[in-house]
C-alpha cells in the first residue's frame, strides 16, 4: 500500500503534466477566444515524435526534448493556419468545430502510421528513485517537476519582459485596442499557437516516459483534462490554469487512492460541470475581473433551405419502404438500417443544436442511456422489447434533460463543454455502477428486436421497423417545426436577449426541446442495443457525438430531411465503398473541417 506522500507527489506530477497542457490552452483562449480541441492531438504527436526519436534515432533526452518542441511548434502553426485563421469573422463555435475536425484527422493519421496498439516509450530515468521520508520520488518525477516549473518561469519572463510577450498580454486583454497600438494580432496568434503546442507536445513526451506507455487514444483524454484544468482555473487565465491543474492532479490522485482508478475521470468531469455551473469564471477569478466575452453558440449560417415538398418526401419514403422488395440484398438493407438509426440520432441533434442552437458535444450519452435502459428493462425486468424501447426513449429524455438543465444558462462554448463533460460522466457512471450496468463486462444476451410479440428476425423486417420509427419521428418533428413552439425556439436561438425580453421562459423551452430531441436518440440507442445483443460502456463512445454533429451540419442545422440525408451519406457511403474503419474517422474529421469552412449551411440549408 503506497503512502499518502506517494499519492501527493503523484498528484503534483500529474498536475505538472496537466499544467503544460492547460497553460497552452489558456494562452490560446486568451488571444483567440478559442478552446482548441486539437490540443490533445498535439500532445499525442509530441509523444510519438519522442518515441521515434528515442527508439529509431536513439537521441539523448535533451535532444529528444528539442525535437519534440520543434515538432509541436510546427504543428501548432499548422493548426492556427487551418483551424483558426480562415475562420475569422465566422461564428465563434466554427473554429472550435474546426479544431475537433483537425484532431480527428491528426489522431487518425497517428493511428494509421503507428497502429492503434500501445507503444513503450523507454527512458533510463524511469527506474531511478530516491527515498523521501516514508515515500519515494523518482528521477522522472524530478524531471517533470523541473520542466513544469522551468516552463512556468520562462513563460512568466517572456510575458512580462519581452515585446512579443507584451503583445500577447495586450491582445488577450483587448484585441481591438492591441491592434490600435500596432500589434499584428495574426502574428501574435501564430506565436501563441507555436508556444502552446510546444508545451503540449513536451507534456505528451513526459507522460509517455512516466507511464512508459503511449497510444493514439490519449489525445481526447488529454484535451479534456486540459480543458477541465483551464475551466477550473478560469478560462484564459494562465496562473489560474496552473493552479487548476495542480488541484485537478491532486484531486485525481487522492480519488484514486480512495476509490480506485476507474473513478479518476469521474471526479475530473464532475468538478468541471460544478465549476461551469457555479463559478463559470473559475475558482480563482477575482471579483473585479470581467467575465470572458459572451460567446454565442449558434452556428446557423443564414441560408435559403432547399424546399422539398411533402409529396416528394412521402414519395421518397414509399420508395425506401418498397426497396427491400426489389433489392433484397442483406448488405444494403443492413447498411440502410444503420443509416436510419443514425438518422434518429441526427433528428435529435438537429433539433437541439440546430433549431434551439445548443451545440451538444455529448449526444452519444443519450444513445447510451437509451441502449442500457432498453437492454436492462427487457433483460432484467422481462419487459416486452417494443415497450422497453419506447420507455428507453422516455428515460433518455428524462435523465438527459435533468442532467443538462443546470447548463442551459451557459452560453456558447461553455454549454458545449458542459455537454461534453456530461457525456463522459454518463459513460463513467455506466462503467462504475456495476450492480445495475454490470460495469466493464457490459450487458450480453440482450433479447432480439420484437414488436407485439412478433420477433423481427429478418433483415427486411428490421429495416422496415427502423424506417417506420424514423418516418414517424421525422413527421412529428416537421409538425413541431411548423408550430408556434418551433417558431419560438428559433426566435430564442436567433436572439435570446430579445426572446427573454418578450417574457419567454427560456430554460423551460430549452428543456422541452431537449427532451423531445432526447427521446429520438434514446429510441435509437434502444433499438441498437437489441440489434447488437451486446453493449458496454464504449459502444456509444464520444466519437459518435462528433459523428452526430457532422451528420447534422452536413445536412443543414435544424433541417429534418438534411439530418437523414447526412446520415445516409456519412454512415451509408463509407459502408457501400467498404472504407476501412480507421479511414472513416479520418473522413469524418475532414468532412467536418471542410463543412465548417466552405459550407456551414450544409447540403440542404439551415432552417
Amino acid at each position: 500500500m503506497s503512502s499518502w506522500i506517494d499519492y501527493t507527489i503523484n498528484g503534483i506530477i500529474i498536475g505538472n503534466i496537466y499544467a503544460l497542457l492547460a497553460v497552452g490552452l489558456a494562452l490560446i483562449f486568451g488571444v483567440s477566444r478559442l478552446i482548441n480541441f486539437a490540443h490533445g492531438s498535439v500532445y499525442v504527436v509530441g509523444a510519438y515524435a519522442g518515441f521515434v526519436a528515442v527508439t529509431q534515432l536513439g537521441t539523448p533526452l535533451p535532444l529528444t526534448i528539442v525535437i519534440v518542441v520543434a515538432v509541436g511548434a510546427l504543428l501548432g502553426l499548422g493548426i492556427e493556419r487551418f483551424g483558426l485563421r480562415p475562420l475569422q469573422g465566422y461564428a465563434h463555435i466554427a473554429p472550435l468545430l474546426a479544431t475537433i475536425g483537425l484532431s480527428f484527422v491528426l489522431d487518425q493519421l497517428v493511428q494509421l502510421t503507428f497502429s492503434p496498439d500501445p507503444r513503450a516509450l523507454p527512458s533510463e530515468l524511469l527506474e531511478r528513485r530516491f527515498q523521501v521520508g516514508s515515500g519515494t520520488i523518482g528521477a522522472l518525477d524530478i524531471l517533470i517537476a523541473a520542466v513544469g516549473i522551468g516552463s512556468a518561469a520562462l513563460l512568466y519572463y517572456f510575458l512580462r519582459f519581452t515585446r512579443l510577450g507584451w503583445a500577447i498580454r495586450a491582445t488577450a486583454q483587448d484585441r481591438d485596442a492591441a491592434q490600435q497600438m500596432g500589434v499584428d494580432v495574426n502574428a501574435v496568434n501564430r506565436a501563441v499557437f507555436a508556444i502552446a503546442s510546444a508545451l503540449g507536445a513536451v507534456s505528451g513526451l513526459l507522460v509517455g516516459m512516466y507511464y512508459n506507455y503511449i497510444d493514439p487514444a490519449m489525445s481526447f483524454q488529454a484535451t479534456l483534462k486540459g480543458v477541465v484544468a483551464q475551466v477550473v482555473g478560469g478560462v484564459g487565465n494562465v496562473p489560474g490554469a496552473i493552479a487548476g491543474s495542480m488541484l485537478l492532479g491532486i484531486v485525481e490522485s487522492y480519488g484514486i487512492a480512495l476509490f480506485g482508478t476507474s473513478y479518476r475521470n469521474l471526479f475530473a468531469f464532475i468538478l468541471l460541470v460544478l465549476v461551469l455551473v457555479l463559478r463559470p469564471n473559475g475558482l480563482f477569478a477575482s471579483r473585479r475581473q470581467t467575465p470572458p466575452e459572451p460567446m454565442t453558440g449558434t452556428f446557423i449560417a443564414p441560408s435559403k433551405p432547399i424546399q422539398i415538398s411533402y409529396p416528394v418526401l412521402i414519395g421518397i419514403a414509399v420508395v425506401m419502404a418498397l426497396l427491400p422488395l426489389v433489392l433484397p440484398n442483406p448488405y444494403v438493407l443492413q447498411t440502410l438500417t444503420n443509416a436510419w438509426l443514425y438518422g434518429l440520432l441526427g433528428l435529435s441533434l438537429t433539433l437541439i443544436a440546430g433549431t434551439v442552437g445548443l451545440i451538444s458535444l455529448g449526444h452519444a450519452a443519450l444513445l447510451a442511456i437509451g441502449g442500457y435502459a432498453s437492454a436492462l428493462l427487457s433483460l432484467d425486468l422481462g419487459m416486452p422489447v417494443g415497450a422497453s424501447i419506447l420507455l428507453a426513449g422516455v428515460i433518455a429524455a428524462a435523465i438527459g434533460t435533468i442532467l443538462v438543465f443546470p447548463s442551459f444558462r451557459l452560453r456558447g462554448h461553455y454549454f458545449s463543454i458542459a455537454t461534453l463533460a456530461i457525456g463522459e460522466i454518463v459513460s463513467l457512471v455506466i462503467l462504475n455502477w456495476e450492480s445495475v450496468t454490470r460495469g466493464p463486462i457490459g450487458v450480453a444476451g440482450i433479447p432480439p428486436l420484437s414488436i407485439f410479440g412478433f420477433e423481427l428476425d429478418t433483415d427486411r423486417s428490421i429495416y422496415w421497423f427502423a424506417l417506420a420509427v424514423l418516418v414517424i419521428l421525422a413527421a412529428l418533428q416537421f409538425r413541431l417545426l411548423g408550430s408556434h413552439l418551433g417558431r419560438t425556439l428559433r426566435a430564442m436561438r436567433d436572439d435570446d436577449i430579445a426572446a427573454r425580453s418578450y417574457g419567454i421562459g427560456l430554460d423551460r423551452y430549452k428543456a422541452l426541446a431537449f427532451s423531445v430531441g432526447s427521446f429520438a436518440a434514446g429510441v435509437s440507442g434502444g433499438i441498437t442495443s437489441h440489434l447488437y445483443s451486446y453493449i458496454n460502456h464504449e459502444t456509444f463512445n464520444s466519437q459518435l457525438s462528433i459523428l452526430a454533429l457532422t451528420i447534422v451540419i452536413l445536412g443543414g442545422m435544424g433541417n429534418v430531411t438534411g439530418a437523414i440525408l447526412g446520415s445516409v451519406l456519412l454512415v451509408g457511403l463509407p459502408e457501400v465503398f467498404r472504407v476501412a474503419a480507421e479511414y472513416r474517422v479520418l473522413i469524418y474529421g475532414l468532412v467536418l473541417l471542410l463543412l465548417v469552412r466552405f459550407r456551414p449551411q450544409g447540403l440542404l440549408g439551415t432552417i
Binding site: 485596442a177 492591441a178 500596432g182
Partner: protein, 252 residues
Amino acid sequence: MTSAPSTAPQPAEPLLALEGINTFYGPVQVHFDLSLKVGRGHIVCLLGGNASGKSTTMKIILGLVKPASGSVHFAGQPITGLPTPQIVRRGVGSVPEARRLFGEMSVRENLLMGAFTRKDQRAVAQDLDRVLGLFPKLAERLTQRAGTLSGGEQQMVAMARALMGRPSMICMDEPTMGLSPLWVDRVLDLIATINREGVTVFMVEQNASLALEIAHHAYVLQTGRIVLDGPAATLRTDPRIRDAYLGGQDAG
C-alpha cells in the same frame, strides 16, 4: 476654459480624406456616401447623436471595419483596406471609445504599449518623460493597474498612450464621455495642448457645444449622412446644430 482657436491655420492640405464611404453591418447600411477631410494641424470634430455612425467612422479610418465602397487617404497615400497595425505604423494614433485600456497591465506598461511600433528605445524613454510632463498626475500612478484608475485618469492614460506612438494624427472617440464636468474641461484643455504641439486631432463627439469650443472644423452626422459642416466658429452659433440633434433623436 480654453479660448477658441483664433489663429486657425488657413485651409491646409488634408492629412486625412474620406471619399464616398458606404459601410454595412450585414444588411444594415451605416454610412451613406460619407466624405470628410481633416486638415493637417487641425482639430476636426465629427458630431452626431447616438448610433449615427460616428464610432464606425473611426473604425473605418483605423481599418477595424472595411467599407463596402469608398476610399480613405492618409498623408496623400491610400490606406483603404490596409490592416490596422499598418495604418497605425503610418502615424494614426487612437483613443478608442470607452478608453479600452489594458486593465490588467500597469499604467507604465499601457503607456509603453502605445510605443509598440517604435524600436528607438532611447527616444521612447524620452517621450515617456515628455508625456508624463503633460500628464503629471500619471507619474504617481505608473505602477498601478490601469483598471483600478478613475474614469478621468483612465482617459489621461488613453491619451498619453496614443501620444507615445508619436502619431501625426490622433483619432478620439468621445473622449469626454462619462467624465465629471471638471474632468471634461481638463480633457478638452489637454486636447488643445496636444494639438498645439503639432498633432492633428480627429474627434468624435456627442457633446457639440463643448467640442466646438476647441475645434477648427466640424461635421454633423445624422444616421450615416453628413448633414452639415463648416468652421467651428460658424457652427457654434448655428441653430441647425441643435435642430440636427433634435431631429436625430426624434428619429431614433
